[in-house]
Structures are given as structure tokens and as C-alpha cells.
Symmetry: C2
Subunit: 289 residues, 2 copies
């Protein structure tokens, strides 16, 4: 339901393939549309629902955060980074098109994310310009050198190294957690959340981000390429430190179970209606893709 809603919203905010430069626009649409778990939009909408935000406003935030996520995947998959050929069960952008186009696709998707959040908002219940600037700042901090891009830089440097569990957590809090956290907070900002709700949900989002990553590592170790929709077993093959490589499968699963409990507990102290966020937390763990 939310996934289909997000698909439609993304479809609308991406430039049509018929507009020049057509090949770039086609490649942008190829990289964003048609698949993906849409975990960040789901979290964004669930958080927006918790504080009764207008879902049309949450759509904008959800698209912006998903475009940042999509751009990071396109660049991550490039030969200079993870050199991956499969994503969401299809050839990655640089395989389907070419490397230079994939580079520009990622660049242009990032720009579009910020353009969306800066666009004049339509009433009723449009956020104030001040609120829009807050949301832009939040997304930029989550995406930038001290957020997602910074986490990826640490990830690169960590290949082949023996990290401590704290270092691994620090890396993933930036690499994965920052954008998951931003998704939750952008959803709450789309409404009129108070400082208290923002802080509680921020705490939840930190746990959810790590949980998401631990489960990802477990799935990568256990899953097959077909169910995963991306090349499985890459982490071990690339000698990347993961929760599974550090803790072993059993203890990684125990960690996931503990993070799940902590995420639920964080939601329990929140005054808002967090029913859907509770459900999403379980979905993060129980998904088998």
C-alpha cells in the first residue's frame, strides 16, 4: 500500500524519459523505479502516521530519502566501489547503461532529492519554509561526509582489517543508520512533532538502523542470490568486516534479537501512535530478502 504509493510518487518526481537528456533520464528511472524494499519510505510514512502528518507531505520526504538511497546504491555498485552487477534482481545501472552514465545518474538523483525538499510546498498543511530548511539540513547531514558518505569511506578503509565490534557499529551508524534515522525524523518533521517525540523517535531510529544492518549481514551470509535480488556472499568474498564475520552467525542473530527488543522498547516510551513502527521493526527482522 505505502510501497505502491511511494512508487507512484517517485514515478511523478522523476523527469520523464521523453525529456532531454533522454538516456540519462531513462537510466535514472531504471535505477529508482520498479522494486526495492522501500524500507526508508515505509519508515518515513510510519513515523509520519505516528504524529498524524499529512501523508501527501510525507510523500515528499519519503521520495527525497529514497532518492538519496538510490543514488548511493548506483555509486556503490560501480567497479571502483563494490563492483556489483546485480541489484534488485536486475543488472546494475553501469552494467545496463555504462559507468559514466551511472556516475551522472547518482549525481543527478542526489540533486533531485534536495530539489524536492526545497520546492514550494502546496497547501493545505504545508510545512513552513523554516521546517523545509530543517528537513533539508537533516537529510544533508545524514547523507554527507559525516553521515552516509562518511560511513562508506570508513567501510572502504576497513576492508581486510580486524575491527572491534564498536568500530563496526560506528561505521554502520553512519553508513546505514544515518539514512534510516533521517527517514524516521523526516516523517515526523512532515507533521508538527514536538522535541520530545523527535528525540524518542531518533533513539528508536538509531536502533532500527543497526538492526537493519545486522539483518542485512545475516541475509548476505545465509541468502541465495535469487531471493536476495543482489549478489549474495559478497561481503565474505571481499573480506569485508560484517557482524557475521565478527560474531559468527549465532551471535549475530542474538544481537539482532537484542536490537529488536531495544527498538520496540524505544517506541514504548513514545507518546505517539507507534503501531506501524512496531510492525516495521518486526518486518526488518523477519524479511527473507
Amino acid at each position: 500500500m505505502i510501497q505502491r504509493r511511494t512508487e507512484t510518487a517517485l514515478e511523478r518526481c522523476l523527469p520523464p524519459e521523453t525529456t532531454a537528456p533522454t538516456r540519462l533520464h531513462a537510466a535514472m528511472r531504471y535505477s529508482v523505479l520498479g522494486g526495492g524494499k522501500r524500507m526508508r519510505p515505509l519508515l518515513c510514512h510510519a513515523a509520519g502516521e505516528a504524529i498524524k502528518a499529512d501523508p501527501r507531505l510525507v510523500d515528499v520526504a519519503a521520495c527525497a530519502v529514497e532518492l538519496i538511497h538510490a543514488y548511493s546504491l548506483v555509486h556503490d555498485d560501480l567497479p571502483a566501489m563494490d563492483n556489483d552487477v546485480l541489484r534488485r534482481g536486475r543488472p546494475t545501472c553501469h552494467v545496463e547503461y555504462d559507468e559514466a552514465t551511472a556516475l551522472l545518474v547518482g549525481d543527478a538523483l542526489q540533486t533531485l532529492a534536495f530539489q524536492l525538499l526545497a520546492a514550494p510546498s502546496t497547501p493545505p498543511a504545508a510545512p513552513t519554509p523554516e521546517r523545509q530548511l530543517q528537513m533539508l539540513t537533516l537529510l544533508a547531514q545524514a547523507a554527507g561526509s559525516r553521515g552516509m558518505a562518511g560511513g562508506q569511506a570508513i567501510d572502504l578503509a576497513a576492508v581486510g582489517l580486524a575491527l572491534s565490534i564498536e568500530e563496526l557499529e560506528f561505521m554502520h551508524i553512519h553508513k546505514t543508520g544515518a539514512l534510516i534515522r533521517a527517514a524516521v525524523l523526516l516523517g515526523t518533521h512532515a507533521g508538527a512533532a514536538d522535541e520530545d517525540a523527535l528525540q524518542t523517535l531518533g533513539h528508536y531510529a538509531n536502533r532500527a538502523g543497526l538492526l537493519f544492518q545486522v539483518v542485512d549481514d545475516i541475509l548476505d551470509a545465509e541468502g541465495s542470490t535469487v531471493t536476495l535480488g543482489k549478489t549474495a556472499g559478497k561481503d565474505a568474498a571481499q573480506d569485508k568486516p560484517t557482524y557475521v564475520s565478527m560474531l559468527g552467525l549465532t551471535r549475530a542473530k542474538e544481537l539482532a534479537a537484542r536490537l529488536r527488543v531495544e527498538a520496540h522498547a524505544a517506541l514504548d516510551v513514545c507518546q505517539a501512535d507507534t503501531l506501524r513502527l512496531h510492525a516495521l521493526t518486526d518486518y526488518i527482522v523477519d524479511r527473507n530478502f
Copy 2:
């Protein structure tokens, strides 16, 4: 003077090398600081001066547009794009660091540009949040798939093709012109420009953008790698369509002369104090680097 001012402002807005991830931050600073013509900040300040904007506000706009320019150079120089090893007389980012780092440097510089424009502005004479959102939108449009990134996509597709002069102009209006135009308009937005001034200066900026590109093509054909600070003669070697390859050197110079006259004429109809913009227009043509 403005160049030193911009250098200081850029220095301050970039994360320090001592902050984690240190290597990424060092590479970001390497790619932005220490050189460059700073043509966009110069235009930004000249336009700001024309409408008597507070130079401290223009600094923010100038840094944002320069960060977008710097990110595009880092990505342009990558092996998948122009595969260039020399920039501003020094090894390009991916040569000095590595390809993956250069990819992340460009990504994070783009994010930082938008983060700067979205940051709470400090009085006195701070722009309204509405104005900040307009500036964000302007920069995003100039940088995105229908601006700079789109122009680069057309550029990629044009290698080895025989373009018409109109097609070449269309490409450069996007690739180079969009950001030059944005620099001028962001400078005027930092003050309280009226619609009339915005339109006139926008017309000027279009001519200045093309002029800048034609002169660049002439310099690439004529210049040596030492005076240029980047690898000379690359365009011909890569079979890229340029004004020189299409028109020959003599007619390309005639075109530059005509665009210079048109740019000055556009400024002459403007009510603002455009003394410095006039001077910059000549500087664009007469520079020998």
C-alpha cells in the same frame, strides 16, 4: 581579494581533516582548496555587489556554487569520464587518493553545497527562509539532470559525433552555462533584487556562460599543459566536439569576440552597478590560463 575571501570561506565550510573520516575530509579539502580561478564565486560576488547584497551572505552562495563546481570536476576527471590526471597543476583526486575516495568526495561535496544553503542564516540582513529555498531550488536546477549533469550526459553522447553549432551551444548552455548562470543569480538573490534585475542579469549570465566555454575550448587548443594547469589538447585527442573543432580557431575567436560584446550589452541595459561584472567579462576572455 574576492578570491582570497572565497578561499577563507571555503576553508571554513569544509570539515577539518582532523574530524573522522579523516581521509575523506582530507581528500575533500585537497579537491577544493588551493587554486582554481574561482570564476563562479567572482561572478557571484560581482552580481551581489551590483545589487548591494551583504558580502557575508554572498560568501555562502559563492561557496555553495563553487562546491558544486568542485564536485563536478572530481567526478569528470574519473577514468570512467574524462580520465584526467592533472587539475590545477596537481594530480587529480583519484590519482592522489583513489577512485572510490574520489567518487565519495564528489558525492559529499555536492551534499555540503546544499547543506550550506539550507543552514540557518545569521543576521544582520539574513535572507528569509523563502529566499533560501529559492536559492536552493536555483542551484539544484542548475546542477541537476536538466542542468550541469544533463549537459555532461549530452557531452558523453556527443563524442565522435558531428554536432551542429546549435547542438553544441545547447550542450554547453547546460554543461557550463547553467552553473555560471546560477552563480550570477545566486549573487543577486543574496540581496533584494527585483524581477527586472534578475531577468537582465540572467540574460547576461547565459552569454557569459557560453563565452566562458568558447574561451576554454580556444585555450585547450592553443595552451600548453603548464599554463593551463590541466592536460591541454584533451578535447581533440578524445574526439570531442568543441567550438574550435567545429569552427576552426579563427572563427572560434570571432565567436568569443561577439559573445563578449553581447554580454557587455546585456549588462548595459541593467539598472544596477555592473562595473565589476563588465570587468569580469573581459577577464574571462583575456585570461591565459
